[in-house]
C-alpha cells in the first residue's frame, strides 16, 4: 500500500493536490458506504417501526415510535425458538466436522507423499465446478436410500466434505517448511502427533477462515435443507423465514425483525473473525 501511496503522491505532483484527492476519495467512499449500508439500515429500521410508518406514503428515515413488540409478535407467531436452536445445532456440528476433515485433508495433500496424490487433489478441486443444483436430485435419492430424509444428518453429512476448504487448507500448509515436520519425525512423532502439535498451532489464521466460511455457508444454507427437512419442527431459520413470509405476507415489520434476528449470529461471527479473513485470503494464496 505504501508503495502505491508514494506513487500516487509522485503522480499527484505536490502535497496539496494529494491531500485534495485523499479527501475526495474519502468522500466518495462515504457515499458508497451509505448506499451499501442502506438495505441493512432499512431492514433494521423496518424491524423497529410501527405499522403506520410503513404503510403511509411518507419517506421516513426514523421510526415515529420504537416498536420492539414487532420482535416478540413474529417470534411467537411461529416456532422461531425451535428453528433458531436447530440452526445453531446444525451449524456448530457441521463446522466442527467440516473444519476437522478439511484440515486433515489439507495436511495430507500438502505434506504427505503418496502415489495418486495429484489425482486425488484434481478430483477434489474438480468438484468445485459442479453447481449444487446439478446433483441435487440424485443427492436427495441417495439420502432417501440411507433413510436420512427429515433428519439433521441429511443436512449435515452430504455437505461435510467441502473442496474449497480443502484447497484453502492445502495452499496454506504448503507454506509450512518441511524441516519442521522432518525434525518432529526425527524426534519420533507420528503423523497425527505432527499434525496436532506442529502443524495446527501454525494454522490459526487458516482455521479462522475455514470457520467463518463454513459457518456462513451452513447458517445461510437454504435449498438443500428445504428439500430434505419436511417437519416444521426440524426447520432451520432460512426455511422458517420463508414460511413466515408465506403466512404473514404483509407483516413487513415482523418479517424484517425475524430477518434481523436470523442474520445477527452471522454478523457476530463475521465481526469477531473478520480481521483474519483478509489476512487469511492473502496468506492462503488466493491472489
Amino acid at each position: 500500500m505504501s508503495v502505491l501511496s508514494t506513487t500516487a503522491r509522485r503522480a499527484g505532483r505536490g502535497r496539496g493536490r494529494s491531500r485534495a484527492t485523499t479527501a475526495g476519495r474519502f468522500a466518495l467512499l462515504l457515499v458508497i458506504a451509505v448506499i451499501m449500508a442502506f438495505p441493512l439500515f432499512w431492514m433494521a429500521l423496518t424491524a423497529v417501526s410501527p405499522e403506520r410508518d410503513l404503510a403511509g406514503p411518507d419517506l421516513r428515515f426514523w421510526p415515529s415510535s420504537l416498536e420492539l413488540g414487532n420482535f416478540s409478535r413474529a417470534w411467537n407467531a411461529l416456532p422461531f425458538s425451535t428453528w433458531f436452536v436447530n440452526s445453531v445445532a446444525i451449524a456448530v456440528v457441521a463446522v466442527v466436522l467440516t473444519v476437522s476433515i478439511n484440515l486433515v485433508a489439507g495436511f495430507v495433500l500438502a505434506k504427505m507423499r503418496f502415489t495418486g496424490r495429484n489425482v486425488v487433489l484434481l478430483v477434489i478441486v474438480s468438484t468445485l465446478m459442479i453447481p449444487v443444483q446439478v446433483v441435487m436430485v440424485p443427492q436427495f435419492r441417495i439420502v432417501a436410500e440411507l433413510g436420512w430424509v427429515n433428519s439433521y444428518w441429511a443436512v449435515i453429512i452430504p455437505r461435510a466434505a467441502e473442496a474449497f476448504g480443502i484447497f484453502l487448507a492445502r495452499q496454506f500448509m504448503l507454506a509450512i517448511p518441511d524441516e519442521l515436520i522432518d525434525a518432529a519425525k526425527v524426534d519420533g512423532a507420528g503423523t497425527l502427533r505432527i499434525l496436532r502439535s506442529v502443524i495446527l498451532p501454525l494454522c490459526k489464521p487458516l482455521i479462522a477462515v475455514l470457520v467463518i466460511f463454513t459457518f456462513m455457508y451452513r447458517w445461510n444454507e437454504f435449498a438443500w435443507p428445504l428439500i430434505v427437512l419436511k417437519d416444521q419442527d426440524l426447520y432451520t431459520l432460512p426455511i422458517g423465514l420463508t414460511f413466515l413470509q408465506g403466512q404473514y405476507t404483509t407483516d413487513y415489520s415482523g418479517l424484517m425483525a425475524m430477518a434481523l434476528v436470523s442474520a445477527l449470529p452471522m454478523l457476530v461471527v463475521f465481526l469477531v473473525f473478520q480481521r483474519y479473513l483478509v489476512q487469511g485470503i492473502a496468506t492462503t494464496g488466493l491472489k
Partner: protein, 315 residues
C-alpha cells in the same frame, strides 16, 4: 501461489524424489497407507454425495421419473422435450444474461473499491468490512429485504423515486424491472467479495512496476491500464470463474425475491430445475436441466482457462 494453482501446482509437486533404497520405499508405502486412511472420510463423502450423484444426473436425464420407484428409460426424450420448452429457453437465456451482467459489474465495482481502499484512507478497515458485509448475509434474508424494498406501493425504492419527482417503477409486475431488481441485489452482495480478492491481488503487484511506470511519466489511467490490470490478470481469471459458477447457482435470492416471476421473467435454470424436480416431480427432466447446467459451466471454464493460458503465453 496464484489460482491457476489447481492444475499448475499439481504438476509442480509431482517432482517428489523417488526413494531408492528398500527401507525408504517401505516407509513411503506406509506413509501412503496412512495418507489414504486420513483422507478416506473426505473421499467417501465426495464419492457418495458429489461424484456418484453427478453420474446419476446423466443417467436420470435419460429417464422419466417421478422420484417414486424405478424410472422409465426414454433415451433423449427429456432433451427433445427441452428443445421445445419455452420456459427452459427462457431460463437458459435469463441465466446467461444474468451472468453476463452481474459478473462484469461485480468485478468492475469490486476492483474500483479495491483501488480506492488500497491506499491509506481514514476508516479503511471499517469501509472494507462494511462493503464485504452483504456477502455474509443469507440469500433468504437478502431476498426478503429486497422484496420489501422493491414493494411497488410502499417499498422504499419507489418512495424515494416519488420524492425525487418520478413515478414508481413496477418492480414486481413488469419483467424488465423485476430482472433489474434481481441484478441489483446480486451485484450488491457480490461486490464486497470481489473487492477483498482484488485487495489481496493488489498486494502482490511488484513495486518495481509502479516505479518504472512513474519514471516513464505514466499517470492515473495509464498506470491502471498498463501496470495494475495486467498484474491482476490471475486474480481476474480466478474471480471470473468463481463468479460465473456462483451466479449460475443463484437460487435463494431469486426464489424469495421474485419466485422466478412475473411470468418467467426471472426464472433461472436453478429455479426451474428445482420446481420441475421437487415441485411437479419430473425428476428425470430436472436432471436433464442439471446436465445442461453442468456442461455450460464446464465448457465455460475450459474455454476461459485456455484463453487465459494463451494470454499468459503471449505476455
Amino acid at each position: 501461489m496464484t489460482v491457476q494453482a489447481p492444475a499448475g501446482s499439481a504438476v509442480r509437486s509431482r517432482r517428489a524424489p523417488e526413494p531408492r533404497s528398500a527401507p525408504a520405499r517401505r516407509r513411503r508405502r506406509r506413509e501412503g497407507a496412512t495418507a489414504y486412511l486420513l483422507i478416506a472420510p473426505n473421499l467417501v463423502l465426495f464419492a457418495l454425495f458429489m461424484l456418484i450423484p453427478l453420474l446419476l444426473t446423466f443417467v436420470l436425464g435419460l429417464q422419466e421419473s417421478s422420484g417414486f420407484g424405478a424410472g422409465r428409460w426414454i433415451g433423449l426424450g427429456n432433451y427433445r422435450q427441452m428443445a421445445s420448452d419455452d420456459v427452459f429457453w427462457r431460463s437458459l437465456v435469463n441465466t446467461l444474461v444474468f451472468a453476463g451482467i452481474t459478473v462484469p459489474a461485480s468485478l468492475a465495482l469490486g476492483l474500483g473499491l479495491a483501488l480506492l481502499l488500497n491506499r491509506p484512507v481514514r476508516g479503511r478497515a471499517a469501509f472494507r468490512s462494511l462493503f464485504y458485509l452483504p456477502y455474509v448475509i443469507s440469500g433468504v434474508v437478502i431476498g426478503l429485504t429486497g422484496d420489501w424494498m422493491f414493494n411497488e406501493n410502499i417499498g422504499v425504492v419507489n418512495k424515494i423515486l416519488r420524492v425525487l419527482g418520478g413515478d414508481g417503477v413496477s418492480w414486481q409486475s413488469s419483467p424488465v424491472p423485476a430482472f433489474a431488481s434481481v441484478v441489483a441485489v446480486i451485484v450488491w452482495t457480490h461486490v464486497g467479495f470481489c473487492m477483498v480478492i482484488y485487495l489481496a491481488g493488489l498486494q502482490g503487484v511488484p513495486r518495481e512496476r509502479y516505479e518504472a511506470a512513474s519514471v516513464d511519466g505514466a499517470q492515473g489511467w495509464q498506470v491502471l491500464r498498463h501496470v495494475t490490470l495486467p498484474a491482476l490478470r490471475p486474480t481476474t481469471f480466478f474471480l471470473v470463474v468463481m463468479m460465473v459458477i456462483t451466479t449460475f447457482q443463484v437460487f435463494d435470492v431469486v426464489y424469495v425475491l421474485t419466485g422466478g416471476g412475473p411470468g418467467n421473467a426471472t426464472q433461472m435454470l436453478t429455479t426451474y430445475a428445482y420446481s420441475t424436480g421437487f415441485g411437479s416431480r419430473r425428476q428425470g427432466y430436472a436432471a436433464a436441466i442439471g446436465v445442461v447446467m453442468y456442461l455450460l459451466v464446464l465448457a465455460f471454464t475450459v474455454v476461459w482457462w485456455r484463453a487465459h493460458k494463451h494470454q499468459e503465453a503471449e505476455a
